[in-house]
């Protein structure tokens, strides 16, 4: 693969090779990938530091320290960031099986939201009226079911009529969002468009049954279980193998007797189900409230988490940590240095750009032809 055109080459007699030549790497070692990634992060941090000094005049070290503090400053903050990590990880795990199948599920946002809506509905109807354990079970089951329904609808269309799943799932997000708005309109009778936690309550006097620590443990517990499940399911089960084959080539899958339609629908049911769990965790466990923005874009961030980790559930722990660390850190930077949130977004963007960009250097070999540069200078 050459980067320059033929006319440019013919003008330079002494060097037949272009100045930059890019070839695909056939093999990549873990050592190299570690070095490349570390270098990418270091360069990103240096550029962030320069931009920080130029634009704000703040000491960049302090900015990074402040990011770190926001995530690990004390036990509470650690719990908050780990909880955030767990939720993002769950959404990422949800989209992964479909991605492995090359089914581009951009609807995790809507699937989680719809799951949350089911939880909110159950709590609104039965909260405080039935046993809390029963209520929890009912909300969890209905959330999962709702998530499954929201995931299965586009997959059925894809499997039978080959509709475009990206557009379909994206549109389902908006449908879910509007349904939540409709729910709020009915639930929040004062027209305030806010669902007060008092409306979604357990039978205790405060309406709450979990402490912050318990909430953290529940959410983290789900994340651990689903991570282990996903890892085994995707790598060591027959289903996981079928997903990979369908992803590689549908024709091969058909040839060896895999029911492609069934695999597509089944996989999206799993994706949707995990999203449903996220909806349950956000609505029933964490906030006891719902608004159209409660998933807060995690359905889309998850796509990046999953891609960055090359669809490996264990590496996703790292990549989702990275994104959560940056997001929480950014908020603290904005507070400590009186900067707009947009500035922290710029820093996050730079760091992500380098991390994604360095993939190029892992997949391709870049060689500079300095010979040619020398010959050009002579002329």
């Amino acid at each position: 693969m050459t980067a320059t055109s033929k006319t440019a080459e013919s003008r330079v007699e002494n060097a037949h090779e272009p100045f930059i030549s890019i070839t695909r790497r056939t093999s990549s070692t873990i050592g190299r990938s570690l070095v490349v990634r570390t270098v990418a992060v270091v360069i990103a941090l240096i550029i962030c530091a320069i931009i920080t000094v130029v634009l704000t005049g703040e000491n960049p070290i302090n900015v990074f320290v402040s990011m770190f503090e926001a995530n690990f400053g004390n036990l509470n903050l650690m719990m908050v960031s780990m909880q955030e990590l767990a939720i993002l990880l769950l959404v990422s795990l949800a989209v992964t099986p479909a991605f492995r199948m090359k089914f581009w599920n951009c609807g995790a946002e809507g699937q989680a939201l719809f799951g949350g809506l089911a939880a909110a509905l159950v709590m609104l109807l039965w909260g405080g009226k039935i046993n809390d354990i029963l209520l929890l079970a009912a909300t969890l089951i209905s959330s999962i079911l709702a998530g499954v329904i929201w995931g299965v609808i586009p997959s059925v269309f894809k499997a039978h009529w080959n509709t475009n799943e990206t557009l379909f799932t994206l549109m389902m997000n908006y449908v879910a969002m509007q349904l939540v708005k409709f729910f709020i309109k009915i639930a929040a009778k004062d027209g305030s468009s806010v669902v007060d936690p008092d409306m979604l309550r357990f039978s205790t006097e405060s309406g709450e049954i979990f402490t912050s620590a318990q909430k953290f443990l529940i959410i983290a517990g789900f994340a651990v279980i689903v991570t282990i499940f996903s890892f085994i399911y995707l790598n060591y089960s027959k289903h996981g193998y079928e997903i990979s084959v369908v992803g590689e080539s549908e024709n091969t899958a058909k040839y060896i007797g895999i029911n492609v339609r069934k695999v597509i629908v089944r996989t999206m049911a799993i994706s949707g189900g995990i999203c449903g769990i996220v909806g349950f965790l956000l609505v029933t466990v964490s906030s006891r409230s719902i608004n159209p923005d409660i998933v807060a874009g995690r359905g889309f961030t998850a796509i990046m988490v999953s891609w960055l980790a090359k669809f490996n559930p264990l590496i996703m722990i790292l990549t989702s940590f990275l994104l959560v660390f940056l997001k929480i850190g950014a908020g603290n930077v904005a507070m400590n240095f009186r900067l707009s949130l947009s500035f922290s977004d710029i820093l996050t963007g730079i760091i992500l750009f380098f991390i994604i960009g360095c993939e190029f250097f892992l997949n391709y070999k870049v060689r500079f032809n300095f010979c040619r540069l020398g010959s050009q200078k002579k002329r």
Partner: protein
């Protein structure tokens, strides 16, 4: 080559002619008088108490400075910080805090960082702030626009609500609008019956209805034939929708003056293009409407911030519920646009301000004839929902006026939600 020279020459001709045209326009127009001094400026905050070196206050905002609503709080907090000589480390401002458990976590984090007072600015923050207040009884929690401090959260002594009687400011702005309408009638530009005001609201809530009605009453107090048509956008900040709503009011509904309760410059911009006078909100929009802007009212949160800081530092109790008024310095009015206002406006505005300071007028005066009526009848009783259970239960009309935002008796957040005679909702929007 010829082409190049020609094109440069043509460009030059165009530039020169443009300059000439604009210059001549400028010559024809009379000198602009511009905007007057603020009619009601924010009072200076003075430091009349000792602040311990370790004192900290936390501010939780739904969005950041890019939202005019949040910016109003951030600006007020920064001005108090400067006036009281606090450092950045003593005034912690968290922006972009969602109306979910994130809000509780933000509050808990501020307490951990040493804040003695935490203030949250969005309606949906309330439940999470109450939760934090229960958990940290030694820290004071204040919440703007909330409704529960004297009702469902009355047993949480360190939780407080606050709002401002912005309807006073809007009433005065309405007087300026009424003078403008009268001028149009006198100049025979419109007949008395055509004095239709257009109003761009965000949602069909008490907060908006209270504001628009007080504005309408201000106008009606000087121009008795004035009526008002309202369109709601369904968003607190949507420039496109606000501009479209204003245009529709002007072209379809034949409105001759526009005001708004939404946070962008959509309506002022539409008015400037159409040449229709505009009364704005949340600070002067003179720059967006040099030929149409009249006056603007806004809430000034600085006096409340000073009040809660002072209470926290001196150990005094913060009121469970608090309403800022013109008298407390919580309402500010921009300057008047001297090129647009009718004669006598300035004096009338000054008189109204003095009346409010003296407490001699009520905005929602139900005793006046042909002023506040519903289906042709005067209001003598109205059951408002002040305890937040969605059903009206408290009569808020007494002594001949509707007692809006009475924090000591009822609550600070608005509860006037009557569409009175003379006001027409073209559409409604309770949040889709």
């Amino acid at each position: 080559m010829f082409k190049k020279i020609m094109s440069i020459a043509l460009a030059l001709v165009m530039i020169v002619s443009c300059c000439a045209v604009f210059a001549s326009c400028g010559d024809n127009e009379k000198e602009k008088l511009g905007e007057s001094e603020a009619m009601l400026a924010a009072p200076e905050i003075t430091k009349d108490f000792e602040i311990p070196a370790e004192f900290k206050i936390g501010l939780i905002c739904l969005h950041d400075e890019n939202s005019t609503y949040d910016n109003n709080f951030i600006k007020a907090m920064k001005s108090v910080q400067t006036a009281l000589g606090l450092t950045d480390a003593q005034v912690l401002i968290k922006t972009g805090v969602a109306e979910t458990d994130d809000c509780y976590q933000a509050a808990a984090d501020l307490v951990n960082k040493g804040c003695k007072v935490v203030f949250a600015n969005s309606f949906g923050h309330e439940a999470y702030i109450v939760k934090a207040a229960k958990e940290f009884p030694n820290v004071q929690f204040c919440h703007a626009t909330g409704t529960t401090s004297k009702y469902s959260s009355k047993d949480v002594p360190n939780f407080h609500n606050a709002f401002a009687a912005i309807y006073e400011g809007r009433y005065i702005a309405g007087i300026a609008a009424g003078y403008k309408l009268n001028q149009m009638i006198e100049d025979k530009k419109i007949t008395a019956d055509q004095a239709v005001i257009g109003y761009v609201g965000a949602f069909t809530y008490a907060e908006v209805i209270s504001g628009m009605t007080s504005f309408y009453l201000g106008a009606k107090s000087v121009c008795p034939t004035a009526t008002m048509k309202v369109r709601y956008t369904g968003s607190w900040y949507d420039q496109q929708a606000e501009q479209e709503a204003a245009n529709a009011l002007i072209t379809k509904d034949n409105c001759v003056l526009i005001s708004q309760h939404a946070d962008s410059v959509g309506a002022p911009t539409a008015c400037e293009v159409a040449g229709v006078p505009n009364v704005s909100y949340n600070g002067s929009t003179y720059k967006s409407g040099e030929n149409t802007f009249i006056i603007s009212s806004a809430i000034n949160w600085a006096p409340y911030f000073k009040y809660i800081i002072k209470c926290a530092c001196t150990g005094a109790d913060i009121d469970k519920d608090w309403t800022g008024t013109i008298a407390t310095g919580s309402i500010v009015l921009s300057g008047l646009n001297l090129d647009v206002i009718a004669d006598g406006t300035k004096e009338a505005v000054e008189k109204a301000i003095a009346d409010f300071k003296a407490g001699t007028i009520h905005v929602f005066d139900t005793s006046k004839d042909n002023f506040i009526t519903k289906d042709g009848k005067k209001l003598t009783e109205y059951l408002a929902d002040v305890d937040g259970d969605y059903t009206g239960e408290t009569n808020v009309i007494h002594d001949g006026f509707f007692d809006e935002s009475n924090a000591s008796q009822f609550r600070s957040a608005p509860y006037f939600d009557i569409i009175i005679d003379g006001v027409t909702n073209i559409n409604t929007n309770f949040g889709d």
